[in-house]
Amino acid sequence: MAFDTPEDLDSFRSDVRAWLGENCPETMRTPAKEREVVWGGSRETFEHPDSRVWLERMAERGWTAPTWPKAYGGGGLSPAEARILDQEMRRIKARPPLFSFGIWMFGPALLEFGNEAQKQRFIPDIVHGRTRWCQGYSEPGAGSDLAGLQTRAEDMGDHYLINGQKVWTSYADQADWIFCLVRTDKQNKHGGISFLVFDMASEGVEARPIKLISGSSPFCETFFTDVKVPKDQLIGEVNGGWPIAKRLLQFERASISAGGFGGTGGSGILGPEEYAKQHIGTGTDGRIADGDLRARITDHKMYAKAFSLTVQRSTEQAKAGQEVGHTASILKYAAAKMNQDRHELLIEALGTEALGWEGDGFDPVALKATRGWLRSKGNSIEGGTSEINLNVIAKRVLGLREHQ
């Protein structure tokens, strides 16, 4: 619809509430354990049986991608309606039916840059969680300097031939398809990049999980050896991939600063102030005995409060149609600092309890905190390092000049 009258929205809200009441299984109104999270794709096992039903019901209405056009299986909702759906789902604590790089990153870009045939071909499978996508961006020699990528795509007439290597490919070993940046022109750094998509089952594709310092392996090194890619799987123009890539990065940064990554939600881990009380003890006033640590914990708690107020402020300002580029640009940087400080304080407050790696010699929650602390070190690296964030703030927001 072109616009929503308050009345429209009220009736929409009551419809949604009614529908959710009937269709969201009770079991899906509780926080999901990590292994119960549904990422979709051919390898999805639906650890919790109800999660399949829940996904199918939501996808059937296109509500896994509420604002996408109905024509491709999306929900066709207006932003206002989508917010209402989100509010109503939160109200009953409904689990997100689907986690998907396809929905968060690739889909929006495809809708913007893809041709009709490509949209028809890929979007519905994303909405229904039938295809799981991964992102082929970083390379060993091209991290912060993404445009320095070297993976080659040779034009062989009816197809491209891909050779090269990617790193930090999230869940490449789990994905069905990849959206991938390749070099189609050696002479032209930014203007020589193209945006291709292809099947991870293609011959010549190999994904090797990377073990992180935290022990987990959410990322892969991905190798391409003479991988054949049909030409109709080029998104946008040849050598026109960079604008698409940048647009996509915005979606990624947004999802990271939303705090989805490296958090400790539902992990049973308490705040540093609780462990400080427990392990260092409290004074006669019932407060943390170590005034030094208490002050540093308080400083962090204030930072965290300021952060959430800032998120709230930019949301309200955006709704009011104000420019929030400034505020948004700092959230990624601040979110990383906040999460890292929090974990450092957890480790400090837990003392020797936090020095375990595994085994029943340690409190399992403390072990989780320690792994989370190690994982949090990635927050200031993944999706653009904090140094890159600061460069961006300095140049784009503050208008400071390039070094000549």
Binding site: E273, G286, T298, T310, L390, V397, L400, H403, Q404
Partner: protein, 378 residues
């Protein structure tokens, strides 16, 4: 909406900002200082009164606009941007709030109305040590038939050097350190036994040292309940802290903008110094702090108007973070300006000097971190 101004509020902000630029630019404070005015500025008071800024928190019955803290915050942020020396917090926030909340009808018509009209300047005489500590008050108030006799020292009273009316906090019961037993007395500047020494402060805003030697106060001039002063002062002080935070935010923003401007003009080694990455990252971090702190101030201001229960926490949050912010920004302002920033002719020094006063008033960052933690129970 907590973070988006209404049209009226936005209009008030614009009025205040153009007033600050035109009537009380930084050069105005410099003139006050160099002419030895000691922060007394009747002309500016008159203009502020004309604009109705003293009545923003006063009810309409007393001629105020009852516009609220968000509005007052916009005014104070504007004043902070140009380091304007005003008694808006002492008179327009503290005295106006205290009288609105606890004043008798007589007190309101005698004092609140003229305060809202900007005819009377007021000041809170509370702290007696070098650090903010309300319960530590020792000034004695002895019963004397038809009232009380006050004796004690108030070494640093903001706005006290030109106040017509003092809200003197004295002990009617108990011992220093105890919350119970404090009372607020309304004392006129010409009261016998009251001596006022003007102080020449580093920020050129001035202040006063008060000595009370047997100052008599009639029962009618007791504000609020005897022995219960802190129940009244808690919300009043939180408004003062939030107001101070808003003013400080304005100062930090202006210092940051001035520095950014310099980074984009000053050349060394054939480069704009703003093109050096180390300075770019420091500027970007300052901006991040500035934006995050702005959210805290906005939340605290609107919490007061909503009568939200979180006012105390948000007041400590806003005061502590603005203190840390202005500390960082004022130091970086001088450092990034280099030698020129060390000269008295440049404004950097004026911002630095005002900064430390803003940090200290109504509780330092350390005081408010401690209070925030206490309120949250750790």
């Amino acid at each position: 909406m907590t973070f988006v101004l209404t049209e009226d509020q936005a209009m008030l902000r614009d009025t205040a900002q153009s007033f600050a630029k035109d009537a009380v630019p930084v050069s105005h404070l410099r003139d006050l200082r160099d002419t030895g005015a000691g922060g007394v500025d009747a002309t500016t008071r008159a203009k502020l009164a004309e604009l109705g800024f003293y009545g923003v928190l006063a009810p309409e019955e007393q001629g105020g606009s009852d516009f609220g803290m968000v509005g007052m915050g916009q005014i104070l942020e504007a004043m902070g941007q140009t380091l304007a020396a005003t008694d808006l917090i002492a008179t327009g926030v503290i005295a106006a709030s205290a009288l609105s909340l606890a004043g008798s009808e007589a007190q309101k018509s005698d004092w609140l109305a003229p305060i809202a009209a900007g005819q009377v300047a007021a000041a809170l005489a509370l702290d007696e040590g070098a650090h903010h500590a309300p319960t530590a008050v020792a000034t004695e108030a002895e019963r004397d038939g038809q009232g009380y006799t006050l004796s004690g020292e108030k070494p640093f009273v903001p706005g006290g050097h030109f106040a017509d009316l003092f809200l003197v906090v004295a002990r009617t019961f108990g011992a220093p350190g105890e919350r119970h037993g404090l009372t607020v007395f309304l004392v006129a500047k010409d009261a016998p036994g009251l001596s006022i020494q003007a102080l020449n402060t580093v920020d050129a805003h001035g202040a006063a040292r008060l000595s009370l030697e047997g100052v008599h106060v009639d029962n009618g001039l007791i504000l609020g309940d005897v022995d219960q002063a802190l129940d009244l002062l808690d919300p009043v002080l939180d408004r003062a802290r939030i107001a101070q935070a808003a003013e400080t935010l304005g100062t930090a923003q202006a210092a940051f903008d001035m520095t950014l401007e310099y980074l984009n003009t000053r050349r060394q080694f054939g480069q704009l110094i703003g093109s050096f990455q180390a300075l770019q990252h420091r500027a970007a971090k300052m901006f991040t702090e500035l934006e995050m702190t702005r959210s805290c101030v906005a939340a605290a201001l609107s919490a007061v108007d909503r009568g939200d229960a979180s006012v105390a926490e948000l007041a400590s949050l806003a005061k502590a973070r603005t203190a840390d912010l202005i500390h960082l920004v004022s130091n970086e302002t001088v450092q990034m300006h280099g030698g020129i920033g060390m000269t008295d002719d440049h404004d950097a020094g004026l911002f630095l000097k005002r900064a430390r006063v803003q940090e200290a008033l109504y509780g330092s960052a350390s005081f408010h971190r401690d209070r925030y933690a206490a309120l949250q129970g750790y």
